[in-house]
C-alpha cells in the first residue's frame, strides 16, 4: 500500500533530482535537398523535441563550417505541441545555404550544446557532416533563343544543330494528340533551319558552335568570353575557384578540337563532328559524354 502510494512521488523525485534518468531531447536533422543546381539553395533543419515537464532547455546556435557553400539565411523558433496527452517543446534551427560553385559542398560535423538553467545540467549532440552535390543549372531553350538572336544572323544555324538533336523528341510530341502549337512551330522551324544547316560548310557550323559555347560560358560565369581568345578564356576559368578542374579540362578539350577545325582547316569526319557537337550540347545541358568518337 505504502509502495503504491509512494511510487509516483519517488519517480517524480528521481526525475527532478537525478537528471541522468530524464529522457534525452530527441534530435532530428533534415537536409531539404542533397543535390541542387547552382541557382538553387538547400536548407538544413535541426529540430530538438522534449517533454516540457522534464526541463526548460536552452540551446546555443550551432557553429557551422561550410565548404563551397555560403550561408544565405538562418533562423530559430520554438513551439509547444501535444503528443500522447503530454505537452512537448520543439526547438528548430533553420539554415539556408547557397552553393559557391559546381561540385561537392560540405557542412562539417558540428555540435549542439543545450542546458537547463534551473539546475545547470545539460548536454550536447553531435551532428555528422553533410554532403551536397551541386550541379549546373538546366539551360533553358528560351534563353538560348534570346542569346542566339543577340549573337547575330548565324545563330539560326546553331539552332539547327540543336534541333537536329531534339527533332526526334519534338516530332514524337507533335504526333501525340495533345501536342501544343508551340511544338508544331518548333518542328516547322527545325525543318527550315535544317535546310539552312545542309547549305552551310562544316567550318562555318563549327564557328557557330564555338560562338554558342562562348556565349554559354559568358552567361554562366559572367566572363567576357566572347571577347577572349580560347587561351585567355581557359586561363580565366582556371582562376575561378567555383569552376571544377574537370570542367576546365572538358572545355579545353572542346576548344582544342574546335580550334584546329576553325583556323587550320581540319576536316572532321561525320562521327567526329557528331561527337563534338553532342559534347558541346551535353556540356551546355550539364551532362557528360561518355566514350570517344
Amino acid at each position: 500500500m505504502f509502495i503504491s502510494k509512494a511510487l509516483p512521488k519517488l519517480l517524480l523525485f528521481l526525475l527532478c533530482f537525478c537528471p541522468s534518468l530524464r529522457a534525452e531531447p530527441k534530435l532530428d536533422v533534415v537536409l531539404s535537398n542533397q543535390k541542387i543546381s547552382l541557382e538553387e539553395t538547400t536548407s538544413l533543419s535541426i529540430q530538438v523535441e522534449w517533454p516540457r515537464k522534464e526541463a526548460q532547455y536552452t540551446f546555443a546556435f550551432p557553429k557551422l563550417r561550410f565548404n563551397f557553400l555560403t550561408l544565405e539565411q538562418q533562423g530559430e523558433s520554438q513551439e509547444t505541441f501535444i503528443q500522447s496527452g503530454e505537452e512537448w517543446l520543439r526547438k528548430t534551427f533553420l539554415i539556408t545555404l547557397k552553393p559557391q560553385g559546381i561540385g561537392q559542398g560540405k557542412i562539417d560535423s558540428f555540435v549542439i550544446h543545450y542546458l537547463d538553467p534551473s539546475n545547470q545540467k545539460g548536454g550536447s549532440f553531435t551532428v555528422d557532416e553533410q554532403f551536397i552535390t551541386v550541379t549546373r543549372p538546366p539551360f533553358k531553350l528560351s534563353s538560348l533563343h534570346l542569346l542566339l538572336l543577340t549573337a547575330g544572323g548565324g545563330g539560326a544555324v546553331i539552332l539547327a544543330v540543336f534541333f537536329l538533336l531534339w527533332r526526334g523528341r519534338a516530332k514524337k510530341a507533335v504526333k501525340s494528340s495533345d501536342a501544343s502549337s508551340e511544338q508544331h512551330q518548333a518542328v516547322n522551324a527545325a525543318k527550315a533551319i535544317a535546310e539552312a544547316y545542309s547549305k552551310k560548310s562544316q567550318k562555318d557550323l563549327l564557328h557557330e558552335l564555338s560562338t554558342l559555347l562562348r556565349h554559354f560560358i559568358h552567361e554562366q560565369y559572367k566572363s567576357k568570353a566572347a571577347q577572349m581568345t580560347d587561351q585567355e578564356l581557359l586561363d580565366y576559368l582556371k582562376t575561378q575557384s567555383q569552376i571544377p578542374r574537370y570542367e576546365c579540362d572538358s572545355i579545353q578539350k572542346m576548344f582544342n578540337q574546335l580550334h584546329e577545325a576553325k583556323f587550320a582547316g581540319t576536316q572532321l569526319n561525320e562521327r567526329e563532328f557528331n561527337h563534338l557537337t553532342k559534347e558541346v550540347i551535353h556540356y551546355i545541358e550539364g551532362k557528360q559524354v561518355v566514350g570517344n568518337p
Partner: protein, 329 residues
C-alpha cells in the same frame, strides 16, 4: 588539318631549331626582356621596322646590337643628334679634284641592320630621309638610285623622357614602323642576373647562327602561314573600330580618336601575326597571335584628340578598349 597547312606546320617545326638557337645566343647577353627579343625576331621574320621606346639603361641598344651579331649581317649604329644632316645618313657626292668628277660616298644606311639611336633627337629632314629609305628600300644620291642591301631592318629607339630639344616623329612617318615597343624595367631577379653578368670585365661572345640566306628561307615559310577568313575579318574589325568606333558599340571612343589606323595597320597586323604564329610553331594564325601582337602594331597608329589627353587617356587605353569590345572568332 588541311594538307597544305600541315605541310607549312611541318616546315615551321623543322626550322624552329634555328630560332631557338638565335634566342639562346641573344639570351647569352640579354637577361629577361623576352618581350623585346621576341618582337625583334618578329620584325626580322616579317620584314618590318621597329620603334623602341623606353627609359635609358634598359638594354635597347644592346639587344639590337646582339641581334645583329647573332644574325651575321652588316650592322650600323647611327646616333641621331640635332646637327645630323641627311647626307650624314644616306651619303653624298664627293668632288674629286684629280679627275674633276663626283664620286658617290655611301652613308651608314647601307647596312642590313640599322640602329637609329634616339631618332627623335635629329631634325625632321633627317628623320624623313631615314623613313623614306625604310619605305622605298632604296636611296637616291645625286642622280643615281641605289637599292639598299637585303635584309634591311631599322630599329629606332626613342626616350620618353627628356623631351626638351627633341623632334617628335610625324604621325605619317611613325606609321612606317611595323611595331612600336614600350620597354619596361626588368624584375628584381632579372636585374640581379644582369648585375652578375655585367659586373665582370669579361666580354660575352655571341656567335653568328643565321645568315641572310637563312632569313629569306624563314621569311618564305612565314609568308605561307595560313590566315583564315575569320581571322582576317577579326583584324579588319579591330582596325575599323579605330576609325569608326560607333559601329562597334564604342561610341564613347569617338570623341577621343582624331585618326584611326591606316590600311597599312591591317597589313602589318596580319604579317606580324603570321610571324608570331611561326614563333609558336604553327602553320596557321589564331586569334591569340593577333591579340598578342595587336597592341604593338596599333598603339602608334591611333591618334588621340586633345579631349583624350585632357582625360589622361592614351592611345594604348583606346586600343585596349577596342580589344575588350571586339568579339574573337
Amino acid at each position: 588539318m588541311d594538307v597544305a597547312i600541315k605541310e607549312v606546320t611541318n616546315k615551321v617545326k623543322e626550322t624552329s631549331a634555328v630560332i631557338q638557337e638565335l634566342t639562346r645566343e641573344i639570351g647569352k647577353v640579354i637577361v629577361g626582356q623576352h618581350y623585346l627579343v621576341e618582337r625583334l625576331l618578329i620584325a626580322l621574320l616579317a620584314d618590318g621596322h621597329i620603334l623602341i621606346e623606353g627609359v635609358p639603361g634598359l638594354a635597347k641598344t644592346l639587344s639590337v646590337r646582339t641581334l645583329a651579331r647573332a644574325v651575321n649581317t652588316k650592322f650600323q649604329r647611327i646616333q641621331f643628334t640635332p646637327d645630323l644632316l641627311p647626307a650624314d645618313l644616306i651619303g653624298t657626292l664627293v668632288y674629286s679634284p684629280k679627275d674633276g668628277n663626283f664620286t658617290t660616298k655611301k652613308g651608314p644606311i647601307f647596312a642590313n641592320i640599322i640602329l637609329a639611336d634616339e631618332i627623335n633627337r635629329a631634325p625632321s629632314k633627317v628623320q624623313s630621309a631615314l623613313l623614306e629609305a625604310m619605305q622605298e628600300r632604296q636611296v637616291t644620291i645625286g642622280e643615281t638610285t641605289f637599292p639598299l642591301p637585303k635584309p634591311f631592318l631599322v630599329l629606332a629607339t626613342q626616350n620618353p623622357i627628356e623631351q626638351e630639344g627633341t623632334y617628335p616623329l610625324p604621325e605619317a612617318q611613325i606609321d612606317r614602323f611595323m611595331l612600336k615597343l614600350v620597354v619596361t624595367y626588368p624584375n628584381k631577379k632579372e636585374e640581379k642576373e644582369i648585375l652578375e653578368r655585367m659586373s665582370t670585365a669579361r666580354e660575352i661572345e655571341v656567335n653568328p647562327v643565321i645568315d641572310p640566306v637563312k632569313i629569306f628561307e624563314l621569311r618564305a615559310i612565314v609568308s605561307q602561314i595560313y590566315v583564315d577568313e575569320k581571322i582576317k575579318d577579326y583584324i579588319l574589325d579591330l582596325v575599323f573600330a579605330t576609325r569608326e568606333p560607333a559601329q562597334y558599340r564604342l561610341e564613347s571612343l569617338k570623341p577621343l580618336i582624331s585618326y584611326g589606323a591606316s590600311p597599312r595597320a591591317s597589313i602589318m597586323l596580319t604579317l606580324a601575326a603570321k610571324a608570331q604564329a611561326f614563333l609558336r610553331g604553327r602553320g596557321y594564325v589564331t586569334p591569340d597571335d593577333v591579340k598578342q601582337i595587336g597592341m604593338d602594331v596599333l598603339r602608334h597608329r591611333v591618334l588621340i584628340t586633345y579631349e583624350a589627353e585632357a582625360e589622361d587617356m592614351t592611345s594604348e587605353d583606346i586600343v585596349k578598349k577596342i580589344f575588350d569590345q571586339i568579339e574573337v572568332p
